[in-house]
């Protein structure tokens, strides 16, 4: 089963602490070497991108600046795992690092299974960390 992990936070964006960076780097390396993490990428701030919106049936291209900053997505990772339990266990480990190495940070690691032909139903697992 393939899962996408998306980390979001409603707090103003700030760079991860060096300790968190180091711990996440090690975890990522381990997960790649274990054949579980098959893709990952970071996203530049919202302001660097654009939004194409439909509002009241009207299409608009908005090229910033954006006022709303509800839940910011900083990046994603794609994992190939056996089960939802494995996906949650991996997300817990990932968020545990945040709890430890970035005090004061609140956020969510959303774990979303990919839709696959023959597997019905969408499900969603949230692993929230409250430091």
């Amino acid at each position: 089963m393939r899962f996408m992990y998306i980390v979001t936070s409603s707090q103003p964006p700030r760079p991860p602490t060096p300790a968190l960076m180091e711990a996440m780097g090690k975890l990522a390396e381990r997960e790649i070497k274990a054949g579980r993490m098959i893709d990952t990428g970071g996203l530049l701030p919202v302001a660097m991108g654009a939004q194409v919106r439909i509002t009241d049936g009207k299409l608009n291209v908005i090229d910033g600046p954006f006022v709303e900053t509800k839940e910011m997505i900083g990046g994603y990772a794609i994992f190939e795992l056996r089960s939802k339990e494995e996906a949650v266990a991996a997300a817990v480990e990932f968020m545990q690092l945040h709890k430890e190495h970035m005090p004061g940070w609140d956020g969510t690691c959303e774990v979303r299974p990919f839709a696959t032909p023959g597997v019905d139903g969408a499900c969603q697992v949230d692993v929230s960390a409250c430091a």
Binding site: A23, K26, L27, R30, I32, K33, A34, G35, R36, I38, D39, I78, E80, R82, S83, E85, E86, V88, A89, A90, E93, Q96, T116, P117, G118
Partner: protein, 427 residues
């Protein structure tokens, strides 16, 4: 959490941690099979304790501490160990007492140890089937029951095989060795062979009703990804990974809703997995950079890449595929490869040229019971509008097919050819 939830969580955590547990214990005990036994004891301890105490905050560290404690107990109990081991035990006892190091799970690079584990599980001393079972157990953390289900065998049979294999390894004194240099490349071949066996077992089940057993494909892919990252200088490790990624990228398109097989040329290419194709292409490029373009797996991966890179069946570069099969045939004299080359020639130059090759294979003893020979022949004859002969060929193919779905498929093709023969007054 219910008890079942906790058990599922424990198994999930255990699978993530297991390779690290075995490798750490192997280093202490210098015996991989014994290390595997003791990690199983740590799992059992978790299954006993966690439902009562709850899942610990750092489950991996808990498992590691428990497994190490078992290993220390074992070392203490075993008085026949050498002086050196005694010292090792002493050091480990001290280490255990001074620091229950909960961060170490991320700290040590286990690449070399993991390679040793894989080489032990896939030791050429063992038969291919046993190597496959051991690899699934020790590297992927599958339970005996899961392995048995995947290979359509009785659980007791698999369990017995594993126990016997582990004993063989321990008694042979080969339970803890890492080949280096040339020996490594040689031994790697026996590992890759097993990984590919596992993959193919899942990709096309040779017998039984299920066309796909994708779980095995995923396990093989996982080992392939591990190998390419811990043996990054070995071109064929990348070649095999490329081949598996590219073949697996077509998984969702290979069967219809009823589970019937769909041939490559008829597949909905929009269902091909782009991420996996990209990974396959990258792995193939890596194999070629390392000078391995002509390797057994890299050549097959290059063929799979030709298909993956064609947006439509018509866009397939059949000439290149035929040439790659030619290279493959030069590497390995095999009538099956020659048959595949014939298929490619059939697409590149037309059915007549291909039929000449296929007819040349008719007396190959190795293909006597191979359903794809008459199946390919039937296809070529059909395209040449020699329907009556096509019908006979498809019937022969159906009679040889071991897989129920494939047999059905070939019977349908035979029926289509028979009708066409009638319409055209052939008999």
């Amino acid at each position: 959490m219910t008890v079942a939830d906790i058990q599922a969580t424990i198994l999930a955590v255990w699978r993530i941690e297991q390779p690290r547990l075995i490798t750490s214990l192997s280093r202490m005990l210098r015996d991989v099979p014994l290390a595997e036994d003791l990690t199983q004891e740590a799992l059992i301890a978790a299954l006993e304790h966690w439902p009562l105490s709850g899942v610990p905050e750092k489950p991996g560290a808990w498992l590691m501490a428990t497994a190490k404690r078992r290993a220390l107990d074992h070392i203490r109990r075993n008085r026949m160990l050498t002086e050196k081991h005694g010292m090792l035990a002493h050091d480990l006892v001290r280490e255990q007492e001074t620091m229950p190091d909960f961060d170490s799970a991320l700290d040590d690079d286990i690449g070399d140890e993991l390679l040793r584990l894989i080489f032990t599980a896939c030791h050429p001393l063992l038969s291919r089937e046993v190597r496959a079972a051991l690899a699934l157990r020790m590297i992927c953390g599958l339970t005996t029951e899961e392995i048995a289900r995947a290979f359509l065998q009785a659980e007791a049979t698999i369990a017995q095989r594993i126990v016997r294999a582990k004993r063989t390894l321990s008694e042979s004194g080969l339970a803890y060795e890492t080949p280096r240099g040339e020996a490594l490349s040689e031994r790697l071949a026996s590992v890759l062979e097993v990984v590919y066996l596992i993959f193919n077992e899942g990709y096309t089940a040779a017998s039984g009703g299920e066309w796909l057993r994708p779980q095995l494909c995923n396990e093989a892919l996982r080992i392939g990804r591990v190998l390419s990252s811990i043996a990054p200088q070995e071109p064929e490790a990348h070649g095999l990974l490329a081949l598996m990624e590219l073949n697996a990228s077509r998984m969702a398109a290979r069967t219809d809703a009823a589970g019937e097989p769909i041939l490559l040329m008829d597949q909905n290419r929009a269902l091909w997995d782009r991420l996996q194709i990209r990974r396959g292409q990258l792995a193939l490029a890596r194999a070629c950079e390392l000078g391995g373009a002509g390797g057994f797996y890299a050549l097959q991966a290059a063929i799979a890449a030709c298909h993956a890179e064609a947006d439509t069946p018509d866009a397939t570069d059949w000439r290149r595929i035929a040439a790659l099969y030619g290279d493959l045939a030069a590497l390995l004299d095999s009538p099956v490869i020659e048959l595949n080359r014939a298929v490619a020639i059939g697409m590149a130059e037309g059915p007549l040229a291909a039929l000449a090759i296929v007819d040349g294979l008719a007396d190959e003893p190795a293909l006597k019971a191979y359903h794809l020979l008459p199946s390919v022949r039937g296809d070529l004859l059909q395209r040449l509008s020699r329907f009556a002969e096509a019908h006979t060929a498809f019937e022969a193919a159906a009679a040889l097919a071991g897989n129920a779905r494939e047999r059905e498929f070939l019977k349908r093709r035979a029926a289509v050819a028979a009708r066409a023969a009638q319409d055209h007054g052939q008999r």
